[in-house]
Every structure is written in structure tokens, then in C-alpha cells.
Symmetry: D2
Subunit: 352 residues, 4 copies
């Protein structure tokens, strides 16, 4: 079985804590180093972090002394996960990559870099080849892989079977996003208790752009983005975990019926099933026949939060199809997605 020492950058933040929780019993990856800002560096993790996960802090990390986020301090790791805030992630991730330490990042800084894969393993596993185009190090030992925004993940996953079968032509969506998406302290309770906020600042441009890279075509080492107009309204709702999307799509080829499209989703097979990755869910795209589902509170944790759930596929009299989709935003849409990325990169030999 593979066995790697990993570091976590931004270990005290909400995403970092989720990395630590999800890596707790990981069969391949062992937490070796934890990094945070200089305010936390030097303290044992149990003192540095204001632990907000509902399970207790794993004993194995409590006494790990938090380090500064420098490649030197992280000597001995095989690669790092980055859960840093975008305000600092750019420079630090670059340092690590240049120092020959692979970076699996949840931050947005390198998502738009043309040589950096924006990876959703079930959707665009072949984009890992872009890594060969990266020039952070002469010998290719240092590279960066990112995962998309927490809405773009369930959006591209739920669209994938339909895109494969019919070709997505256009997308209109409204997202109803959980408060955990804003980190901690994040959304003030006075803003969201018994309320919906019809704007999440800075979110919609990411939803418009990132799926085009995920659905892009890689040829001769060059990625050409897909051309699909997407129009999103991102709202915040008083749920804890699980972003719910209401999606309407235009298609290049028309299904004969909504039922046919449902079958396309149900029969879709994950291109990474063959790797049997430890974090991969059995049903990465799960279709709920019950029209009342999926619901964030009931289903965000299904298959350890790694599923994208889909429901209510039906015909649209304006575009072609409409449906709802949902995934756990801080697991599948962030730390869990990054861990699955790392597993795919192990399986493909990029991490070795």
C-alpha cells in the first residue's frame, strides 16, 4: 500500500481542520507537518487551533508543533495540501513548488494558471497531464494541482453525464449555499438566521469560469476551455453543510425524454472507478428517485461527504432540462476533493 508523509498548509483554518479530520485514518497519507501563520508557529496544534469540527481533534495531531509555511520547515514531506487563504496562498504555494514539493491546493490562486490542472477526478482525470507543462522546477519534481470552487465541483459533476451524452450548450443556475462555505467566523448569525442573502460576493465569476476549464479539451499539452455560457445567482441560506444547486441546461443534442436523461445519469460510469481510490465514493454521482431529495441536512454526509447527489431531472420548456444537485461543500467541494486529487495523482504515478 502506498505510504506518504504529507504536510498541511493553513492547518489552523476551517479548511485545514477539515484536511486533518479527513486524513485522520487515511490508509495512504500520514500527517507529518502542519503549517500556519507566524502567530501560530511554534505552538502545539492543540493550542494553536480553535477547533471547530464536531468530532474531537485527533490525538495524533494535538502535540505536533505548528511550523511556518516554508519549504525548509516542511523537509521530509512527500507533498503538501494547501488550505490557506487566497491572500497568502499564492506566494507560499509557489515557494513550495519551486522547492520541488508538490502542492495539492484548495486555494483559488493557481486555478486559472494554464498549466495547472483544475481537477475533479471523475470529470477531467486526463488533465493531470498538464502537470508536465509546469516549469516550477527543472526536473518536474515541484508542481501544483488545484480543485475548483465548492459550487463548481457539484456543478461539473452533475453536468458530466449529460455533457458526455448530449453536450451542454448553456447553463442557468441558482445556488443555495451553506454557511460553512464562508469559513470561520464567516457569516454572522444576524445576517442569516431565518433569512436568505441573495448575493455571495465574488462567487458568481468563479462559477461562470471554472467549469469551462474543467470541461476543457487537452491536446498537445495545451488546454482549450469549453465554450458554455453559464449564468449563476449565488445565495446564502441557513444550512450548515451542503450547497444545493437548481440548474437548467440547454443541450446540443436533445434527449427523447427526461427519463432518458435520468438513465444517462444513472448509467454513467466513473472513469476513475478502476483505480479503487480510498476516498472515492461508490456512487460519485447519485441520483435520488424521491423528488423531495437531495436535501443538504439529510444527504451532505452520504458516503462520507464525497458524493454529488442529483434529483428532479425533468424537461424545461425554456431550455432543455432542469434538475437539482447537491454536494458537501467543505468535503467534496474542498478538502475531500483535494485528497481525492492526491489519490488520483498517486495512482497515476505523479506522487511517488
Amino acid at each position: 500500500m502506498p505510504n506518504f508523509n504529507v504536510g498541511v498548509l493553513g492547518a489552523t483554518g476551517a479548511v485545514g481542520q477539515k484536511f486533518i479530520r479527513l486524513l485522520q485514518d487515511h490508509p495512504w497519507f500520514t500527517i507529518h507537518s502542519l503549517g500556519a501563520s507566524s502567530r501560530s508557529a511554534g505552538k502545539p496544534y492543540v493550542e494553536a487551533a480553535n477547533w471547530i469540527e464536531s468530532t474531537e481533534m485527533p490525538e495524533s495531531v494535538q502535540q505536533i508543533v505548528v511550523k511556518d509555511c516554508t519549504p525548509k520547515a516542511f523537509a521530509g514531506v512527500d507533498f503538501v495540501f494547501s488550505g490557506m487563504d487566497a491572500s497568502v496562498a499564492g506566494d507560499i504555494e509557489l515557494d513550495f513548488a519551486k522547492a520541488g514539493i508538490p502542492v495539492i491546493s484548495n486555494a483559488r490562486n493557481f486555478r486559472t494558471d494554464p498549466t495547472v490542472p483544475l481537477l475533479v477526478p471523475e470529470v477531467n482525470p486526463g488533465h493531470t497531464e498538464l502537470i508536465h507543462q509546469q516549469s516550477f522546477t527543472d526536473d518536474g519534481s515541484g508542481w501544483i494541482v488545484t480543485n475548483p470552487n465548492c459550487v463548481a465541483v457539484p456543478l461539473t459533476m452533475s453536468l458530466k453525464p449529460l455533457h458526455d451524452q448530449y453536450g451542454i450548450k448553456s447553463v442557468i443556475l441558482t445556488s443555495m449555499q451553506a454557511v460553512s462555505g464562508a469559513g470561520y467566523p464567516g457569516v454572522p448569525s444576524l445576517d442569516i438566521l431565518g433569512n436568505v442573502v441573495p448575493l455571495i460576493s465574488g462567487e458568481e465569476p468563479k462559477i461562470h469560469a471554472e467549469p469551462l476549464k474543467v470541461f476543457g479539451t487537452l491536446k498537445d499539452g495545451k488546454l482549450t476551455h469549453a465554450e458554455i455560457p453559464i449564468q449563476a445567482t449565488a445565495t446564502r441560506v441557513p444550512t450548515i453543510n451542503g450547497h444545493l444547486l437548481s440548474v437548467t441546461v440547454g443541450l446540443h443534442n436533445k434527449p427523447s425524454s427526461a427519463e432518458e436523461a435520468i438513465r444517462a445519469v444513472k448509467n454513467w460510469e466513473s472513469p476513475i472507478a478502476k483505480y479503487d481510490l480510498p476516498t472515492a465514493p461508490d456512487f460519485p454521482i447519485f441520483y435520488h428517485d424521491d423528488e423531495r431529495y437531495p436535501q443538504p441536512r439529510l444527504h451532505a454526509d452520504s458516503e462520507r461527504g464525497m458524493r454529488t447527489a442529483v434529483g428532479r431531472i425533468r424537461s424545461s420548456n425554456v431550455l432543455d432540462l432542469t434538475f437539482v444537485a447537491m454536494a458537501h461543500n467543505t468535503v467534496r467541494g474542498a478538502a475531500g476533493g483535494a485528497i481525492l486529487n492526491a489519490e488520483l495523482l498517486v495512482a497515476k504515478g505523479f506522487i511517488k
Copy 2:
């Protein structure tokens, strides 16, 4: 000043209670009779009703003895408001109309009757003329007017200025509906606390159909429905009052910019402003420049719950424009809308 005796049918239910609260200090209408099921009939209202409004039950109604919902029992009223459940409203409203008692109804039973106006005063005030086509009584003394579903109200109101200016061609919307829309006991807390339910059973067909009648064209006493494909996803969110809509529209004529469309909304003038109706808000369609607004908890009660608030008008790269809209579902979208309908019908001389 006009002065009418009114009855309320279904007075003990959630909509009936809202009628009573809103009529409490009404300058034109005085509550004369309250009707409910035979289980309540004969009891003073204070005993018959499980009062759920947040303000206290008006003293003026506490000792009114609840009656059966029969025209005979309601002798002396000039007209009735109906807040009855659809399961019983059809037959009873018919009885009242045949007995020469005008019915201003919030129930859905007669909404699709081709001679019954589906009235939103600011949107289709001229549809009151349909009343002349009704034949419940020989002398025209008994008639029925309805208001649309609580989503169709803010939808048609928010679309109205754009429809006037550009012609609505198609509509895609996601509604995020408050729990008060389901009445009492309504939505179980176990279903909705910290959750979103992506289906409201039976809601979407009403949203698809009712606006077509509201936007219909009346000619020679015959109403021709508008032909606008509408596609809705109706969801339930944990808010108390105020249905929020995320709407995207295609237009027949294109505005030069989103700003132009915003001006069209801001400059739109209500066709019923001239009547100076007591329940009419100063700004029936209010545009929020702050992108974070409207929000149900903050704005549902603006102008006593009678406003439709609009915000975030911007260009859509799939259809033409996209925006959010919100109105108080049990005031503007139900009892308050019905009271405004009654006021318009007084102003136009139908109630006299």
C-alpha cells in the same frame, strides 16, 4: 369615506387570521361576520381560533361568534373575503356568489375560471371588467375575484415593468419559499431546520400557469392568456415570511444595458396610484440598489408587507436579464393582496 361590512370565510386558519389582523384598523372595511368549519361554529372567535399571529388577537373580534360558512349566516355583509382551504372553498364560494354576495378569494379553486379575474391590482387592473362576464346571479350582484399564488404575485409584479418595456419572452426561476406559505401546522421543523427542501408539491404548475392569465389580454370580454414559457423550481427554505425568487428572463426587445432595465423598473408607475387605495404601498415595486438586498427577514415587512422588492438586475449571458425579487407571501401574496383587490373593486364601483 367608503364603509362596508365584510365577512371572512375560513377565519380560524392561517390566511383567515391574517385577514383579521390586516383588517383590524382598516378605514373602509369592518369585520361583521366570521365563518369557519362546523367544528368552530357557535364558539366565540377567541375560543375557536388557535391564534398564531405575533400581535395579539384584536379585541374587536374576540367575542364574535363564529358561523357556518353559508350565505344565510352571513346576511348583512357587503362582501366576503375567503381564506378557506381549497378542499372546501369551491362549493362554498359558489354558494356565496349565487346568493349575490361578492367573494374576494385567496383560494385557488376559481383562479382558472375564464370569467374570474386573477387580479394583481398593479399588473392587470383592467381585468376587473371580466366580472361582467360572470353569470352566478342574474343581476350581476354575486361574483368572484381571485388573487394568484404567493409566488405568482411577486413574479408578475417584478416582471411587469420589464414586460411593459421589453416584452417577456421566457422565464426561468427558482423560488426560495418561507414556511408560512404552508400554513399551520404546515412544514414540520424536522424537515426544514438547517435544511432546504427542493420540492414544494403542487406549486410549480401554478407558477407556470397563473402569470399567463395575469398577463393575458382582455378584448370584447374575452381573456386571451399570454404565451410565455415559464419554468420554475420551487424550494422551501427556513425563513418565516417572504418568498425570494431568483429569476432569469428572455425578452422580445433587448435593453441596451442592465442599467437601462433598472431605470425601467425604477421609473415604472403604478396604474392604480391614482386611486390612492389605503392598502396600496407607495412603492409597489421597489428596487434595492444594494446588491445584498432584498432579504426576506429584513424586507418582507417593508410598507406593511405590501411591496414587491427587486434587486440585482444584471445581464444574463444565457437569456437576457436576471434578477431577484421578494414579497411577503402571506400579506402581499395572499390576504393583503386580496384586501387590495377589494379596495380596487370599491374604487371601480364593483363593490358599492
Copy 3:
């Protein structure tokens, strides 16, 4: 390893569903029969139940045909769990006991029967001896054991170490109870969203009385109730699972300090630890040093929902000590507690 066939009475209700979920992978107990009202009888469980648990309905029960709740229909079971509503539980449980089928009940009907143990395994394990006083059958094969109300469970558990050490003299508490305690549909969302209801009808008398039986003294087959004045205010708060209690106690013997009392709680040892029961938590009474804890949303699920969490023990200047306690109301306080009762009864040879 023990291996028993069990039946679940009231299998389609909220408590029944919890039994089924918790028994899903139980090492000793296999679901053999499911019973519900005649409305459900004859249908496969998947059709009869409106499944409200957040995990999916176990495949193993989906095709089990629901039976009427009669001893004859349950032939072949070694004992039954009862999750029935109190309105029907009395007669049916009596039928089963008389037919020689042991009943482990969560219903309140037999809780006050002087020969029926009101059992919390960690608190009064010796009360199982009361079973010998029961006379439902001549040969003692049929008997009934109950568990207390969902507040009385964490109350008696959190008081137990203090009672052992200092003797509880009086108790004042305010409970903040989760909506799942009212079953389904239970609490209307209009009542509880963004609200607290300062009364749970019928709850306080149970909290006042049941701990006195749990803390009772068994001598010569006769149970003498404890004499401890308890005064409770039971409120409903918008949480899903986990009843939180704010408790102040008078003591017969005074601890020298709150710290001493904290040590008494931490050092307390469960009298049933020796049995190593599969559902028993490692820390049935867990003390949180962090003053912000326990919290229902974070800690109700700790150790599969079987823990009672305690925190904030400090001196009271009115009585002697004050603290907070919390347990999962539908697991530890209902179905999970009943399963632990059954396990203890297996270990002690009552179920064989």
C-alpha cells in the same frame, strides 16, 4: 457471541426508525419482525414507512412485510423493542408480556408500574432484579423493562456521580430540548424557527417523577423511590438532536470545591463497564473541560449518540453546584438506551 431474533413494535414511527437504524449492524440482535398499525400491516417496510433518518433505509429491512402488533404475528422473536406511541403501547405491550415475549419498551405506559424497572444501565443496573416480581406469565418468561423519558436519562446520568459522592438533596433544572423529541411531524416550523417555546406539554411531571424511581432503593424485591424534590422548566429550542440541561443541585454532603466535584465526575466508573456491552460508550458520562461545551449540534453524536456529556460544573451560591448536561434524545434518551437495556439483560441472563 449472543445471537437473538428481535422484533420492533411501532416500526414505522420516528422511534421505530431509530431502532432499525441502530440495530442495522448490531452484533447480537437481528431484526426478525416489524410491527405497526393495521394501516401499514401487509406492506413491505419500504412502502409502509416515511423514512426520516438521514442515512438510507437499510436494505435488510426494506422488503420485510410489516405485521400487526400481535404476539402471534411475532412468533419466532426472542424479544421485542417497543417504540409505539403511548396511546396504544399499554395494551399491546401487555399482550406480548402475557404471551411470554419480553418487551424492552421506550413507551411511558409501564414506567410507573412498581414491578417494571425504569432502567438506565449505568445508573441503576441492579433494578433488573425487579423483573422477578413481575407476574405477566406464570413461568416468568414474559416481562417488561422500560427506559426513562429523554430528559430523565441525561439528568440521572449526570447526577449519578454526584449522588454517589455527595447525595442529591434537591434539583432545579431548565431543559432546552431538540425538536426530534416530539417525533414526526412533531413541532411545526412556524412555532420554533428563530424561537424558543417555554413549555413542553406533559414533560415536566415526567422529569419530576422518573428520576426518583431510577434512584430508588431495591430491597427484598421492593423498590422505594428516592425523595428528591426536582423542579423543571422544559423548553423547546430550534435544535435537531440533543437535549441540553442547565441543572442546579443541593447536596447532602458538600464538596470542598467545584474542582473536587469535577474530579468525582471524571473518576466515576461505570458499574456495567465489566460487561463490555456492544452499545455502551467508553465514556458514558463525559466531562468537557472547555466551558463552551457540550453543545447539541457538536456533541450529540459523540460515541454514536450514547454519551451523556457534562460541563461547566461550578459552585452555586443558592444551592450547592450547578452544571450543564446533554445527551442525544432519540439515541441515548430513547432507542439507543433501550438497546443498551437489552444488552444488559442479555449479559445478566434475563434474555437467553
Copy 4:
């Protein structure tokens, strides 16, 4: 009618905004100056404040240029309200008092000063005489009056009729406090959605101490605090406005029954009713006969948020009586209480 120019210190914060909203149409007080930190000073209020009230910012204040909080900048005001944070309120309030400008403060800094009244007009109106003991200025023109903490207000008010009649001997309470009590941004939604937090840091000492001053006896210009042991557990619940208290009291003289105590509350007469103050509610202590009441969401706004509601008075078998009480924490328990204090001080001639 009295007419005074008032200033608001801390005008951009949550309490300051509440002052502005409540003063909007005040018959006696006109907002003359608004003060905030140097970050806001110099900007028109509409730009300086992140307005969080649900009604729109009054037009009358939008263009007022925010000033530094110095007596010089506030020349022309008759007195000031202080809604400043405790971290800065001490020095600034002292400056104003020394400059001869009366300060009606909601901050806690001077609450424990033996010459500063901790004023709840209905409870200890005579404590205004303490002002004569203040020596901030030689001529007595500058002085400070404070109001208690937002729990101490409904606690002292609800205890007042019982204290008058029976003498309060001891108090045990659990508070369930709304999120607005923590200001803005205040409580993170991740902490409180679907949750209860059993600790509000720093709150309990205030609840223990402040009522003793409020119930203190003034003799020869010297205030002797009451001696009543109070023990509080302060919890945070997911409500917006309205702190709910569950209170149990020991009494020096015993009522013959709970009903007698209820009558004592209902028959209690406010000592300030004679002044007919504009902000005073008709029923400052309102008793709900319905056992389900008071509830924060339904009743916090009753009588413009100025009432303390009481319910469920019943006998306690541990102490003497137990009941629930509730008041709007940011109106009655903060800004509204301060405004009422100002009105009383006008009526008594301290402000002139």
C-alpha cells in the same frame, strides 16, 4: 412639549443604530450629532455605517457628518446617549461628564460606580437622586446614568412585583439569549445555527451583581446594595431578538398560592405611570395567561419592544416560585431602556 438636542456616541455600532432607529420620530428628542471612531469621523452617516436594522436608515440622519467623540465636537447637544463599546466608553463618557454634558449610557463602564444610578425606571426610579452625589463638574451639570445589562433588565423587572410583595431571598436562572445581544458581526452562524451554546463569556457576573444595585436602598445619598444570592447560567440560542429567562426564586414571605403571586404581578402598578413618558409601555410587566407564552419571536416586539413579558408563574418544590420572563434585549434591554431613562430624567428635571 420638551425639546432637546441629543447626541449619539458610538453611532455606527449595533446599539448606536438602534438608538437612531428608536429616536427617529421621538417627540422630545432630536438627533443633533453623531459620534464614532476616527475611522468614521468626517463621513456622512450613510457612508460610515453598515446599517443592519431591518427598517431603512432614516433620511434625517443619512447626511449628518459623523464626528469624533469629543465634548467639543458635540457642542450644542443637551445630552448624549452612549452606545459605545466598553473598551472605549469609560474615558469618553468621563470626558463628556466633566465637560458638563449629561451621559445616558448603555455601556457597562460606570455601572458599578457608587454614585452612578443603574436605572430601570419602573424598578428604581428614586435612584436618580444619586446624581446629586456625582462630582464630575462643580455645578452638577455633567453626570452619568446607566442602564443594566440586557438580562438584568427583564430579571429585575419581572422580580419587581414579587420583591415588593414577598421579598426576593434567592434567585436561580437560566437565560436563553438572542444573537443580537452580541452585536454585529457577533455570533458566527457556524456556532449557533441549530445549536445552543451553554456559555456567554462575561455575562453571568453581571447578572449576579447588577440586580443587587438596582434593588439597592438609597438613604442619605448612599446606596446600599441588596443582598440576594443570584446564580445564573447564560446560554445563547438561535433567536434574533428577545432574551428568555427561566427563573426560580426563594421568597422571604410566602404567597398562599401561585395564583396569588400571579395576581400580584397583574395588579402591580408602575411607579412612573404618572409621568406618561412617550417610550413607556402601557404594560411594562405583562403577564401571559397562555402557558406557551412569552416566546421571543412572537412577543419581543410587543409595545415597541419595551415590555417585559412574564408567564408560567407556578410553585417550586425546591425554592418558592418559578416562572419565565422575556424582553427585547436591544430595545428594552439596551437602547430603548436608555431612552426611557432619559425621559424619566427629563420628567424629573435633571435634563432641562
